[in-house]
Amino acid sequence: MISRILSVALLAIVSIASAQTTRPAGPTRISIDLNDVPLAEAMKTISAETGVAFQMSTSSPRSGAQAAKDIRVTLKADNQPLSRVVADFLVQAKCSVAPYREYGGLAISPGAPLSVIPLNDNITLLVQSVVVEGYANLGRGEPTKQYNYTIQCAAIFDPSMRALGASQSANITELNIAVPRSRNQYGSSSQIDQVDGRRFAVLLTSLRFGTAERVTNIEKLVASWRVLCATEDVKVALEAADLINGGENGDERLTISVPPAGNDQRNGVQFSLRGSLLERFKNSPWESIWGTGAVRIDGIDGGPLEGVNANPQGIRGKDITFRIFDNRGGQRNLAEEIDRIQVVLPTKARYIEVPIVLTDLKMP
């Protein structure tokens, strides 16, 4: 028996067709009970319960497909933070994770994380690998050695964080190891990938430092990680009667509209977006923005309508038309099932500093 409790709204609290600054709320809480189910089935269940898209990584399709059949998952959670449930699932599934960029979700691949560190109720960190590059400097003068350590991490975010991107590495502020840290900084990078309106359930970062001698254990590491979160959104939505009779909502920045519903809804329901804000998102991957929090389609029970996708049918200047369809190819009368279509685009964002603390971590 699976039940779901959403303790907060998945999306930020902003009024329809308005923009306002909000603080992160959360966490989203999940209850789940999986008993020895195949990985593929577990992924579907977790995805349905959390609203986060999952897929096996395509970087190693053969091992991924085999893992989906072979690995079995047992997982129990009672009203736990979403990020922690997802992290526990990955540990159980012996899988690592990377952003599933097309849908803002999670791409998983075989390879158990080395450790799991809940940073707070909204973010859980997985240490996924450690790479040690050793270098002997044999140039002029006495030979010297340098070891550069890269600890690769993935962080699972609660949707309320509205995470748009993050720096590729975190800034280490404290490091307790048996040998001195190298004077030669092996520092942090603040680069982030493209910010295009998609929100991410997982982002990667690395912790990097250098030493003059090899280290086998980290007693304690403290770091600060820059994560970019939306601080202001524009949200537009249409509900119930407007979806049947046709209607529109919004302002000059962003307007959503639907034509009157026809008799035949087998080809799905259409809605369109227009407005000056779309100019800033003209390079966004609209074909895969579904599932990222930017477009949400609710059923009459108030929750996300299952088994539907919204794909762009045409982009003409500042107008984009989407078709909502049954992604299982069924013949559903979606006009009757859909109670609300909502589009949220971030208009302002700001970096937050996320503290990371690792203790007693073995080095290869």
């Binding site: 691949s109 910010v195 685009l345």
Partner: protein, 399 residues
């Protein structure tokens, strides 16, 4: 011991075509010109902005300093939510100011030319002078020296290679070598402290020049040697011997085409090419260059590196005698041959409109498009020598 062998590229000794608008001559490699290093500007800069976007901050900086500072991907800055920053700059020199700007925006900046800079999240944060090792100590003639050994160890899931080799870094000093092709590192013998023989694991790779086909070596050249790593790890390489093999261009065949309004045939690197006629397309002048029909392998090196037509080996001159930059204006391939269009821009603003700076100082003149080239010159290797540079070392520590 140094082994030198002269290889003459007979195909490039073909006589100049008997056309008035095509002239071919043989010139020593040392005569090829290079652009000088950019001079450093010194100017105090003060700027204070709060809750500002990177685009606005860069525009204010450009207005204050008069330099050209260009986003590598300006479109990206104009998309998505506006990320805001507080920027405070108080610097005695432009270099310091650029560094402070880069740090404030968490972006990297590098110098494109004396007064033109580029900014992007893809560089190290702050102001990075374009790193090169020109000017390093080149005394002592041609030699190779082992400078380091690199290893990699991995725990957990990663896309990196398993790290079953270690890499020996070698620096080659060879003054005034005009390098063509890929340097090669050959292992003669490697023995570890346990008496085990280490094998060459992979073909050698060049770390400095990458895919460049032709480069004046005024500095050291970094190459590497991959060795297999036996279990357990060796602590030392007791003895290591090998050689680095370079190809040095002694002279070039320089082909100059004038009267570009006509279609002419030239031979570059053994391949006949049809050049011209020059035509105007929009704001830019375009010059078509066609390879002959036939299978790609029959078209010689030109097919492999059509970029050669507009890289450092190509020079164009405008009507007023000014030097023009040449860019690719597109290419196509078919059984009838390959065709590449060359586009001409004034030196310093050579990029097409799509990559023009988003922000420019108000005093900067408009981009002088439409400058007509009157002469194009290509220089291709003529006489090539093979240089073998030995290296040898003992008791090397393995990290």
């Amino acid at each position: 011991m140094k082994l030198r062998m002269i290889v003459l590229c007979m195909f490039s000794l073909l006589p100049a075509l008997a056309l008035a608008e095509v002239k071919t001559e043989i010139v020593p490699a040392a005569q090829l010109e290079r652009q000088g290093e950019a001079a450093q500007l010194a100017k105090p800069v003060k700027l204070s902005l709060t809750d500002t976007s990177p685009t606005d901050a860069v525009a204010a900086f450009v207005k204050e300093t008069g330099i050209a500072l260009t986003f590598d991907n300006a479109e990206r800055q104009a998309s998505g939510p506006v990320i805001t920053y507080d920027v405070a700059i108080d610097a005695a020199t432009l270099d310091d100011a650029l560094d402070q700007l880069g740090q404030a925006l968490r972006l990297g900046i590098y110098r494109q030319s004396e007064k033109a800079f580029r900014i992007s999240p893809n560089y190290d944060v702050g102001f990075n002078e374009r790193r090169n090792n020109f000017g390093q100590d080149m005394e002592g003639g041609t030699k190779a020296r082992i400078t380091g050994i690199r290893t990699m160890r991995i725990a957990g899931q990663t896309t990196n290679s398993p790290g079953q080799e270690f890499t020996v870094s070698i620096v080659v000093a060879a003054r005034d070598v005009m390098l063509t092709g890929q340097p090669e590192v050959k292992l003669i013998e490697a023995i570890d402290e346990q008496g085990r023989k280490l094998e060459q694991a992979k073909p050698s790779s060049t770390m400095f020049f990458g895919g460049s086909n032709l480069q004046r070596l005024r500095s050291t050249l970094s190459v590497s040697l991959q060795l297999s790593r036996p279990e357990p790890d060796p602590a030392q390489i007791k003895s290591l011997k090998g050689e680095v093999v370079l190809k040095n261009v002694k002279s070039f065949s320089k082909t100059t085409v004038t009267e570009l309004d006509k279609q002419v045939e030239i031979t570059l690197d053994g391949v006949k090419l049809t050049v011209g006629p020059l035509a105007k397309s929009g704001d830019a002048w375009r010059l078509p260059v066609k390879t002959p029909p036939g299978k790609p392998e029959a078209r010689g090196n030109m097919y492999q590196r059509l970029n050669f037509l507009f890289n450092e080996s190509a020079q164009a001159t405008g009507e007023a005698g000014e030097r023009l930059r040449i860019n690719s204006g597109g290419s196509s391939s078919s059984p009838e041959g390959d065709e590449m269009f060359l586009q001409f821009f004034s030196d310093g603003s050579n990029r097409p409109a799509s990559t023009q700076p988003a922000t420019q100082p108000a005093t900067r003149p408009a981009r002088p498009d439409g400058i007509k080239p009157v002469k194009v010159t290509w220089s291709v290797p003529n006489e090539v020598e093979v240089i073998s540079i030995p290296f040898e070392a003992a008791n090397l520590i393995v990290p």
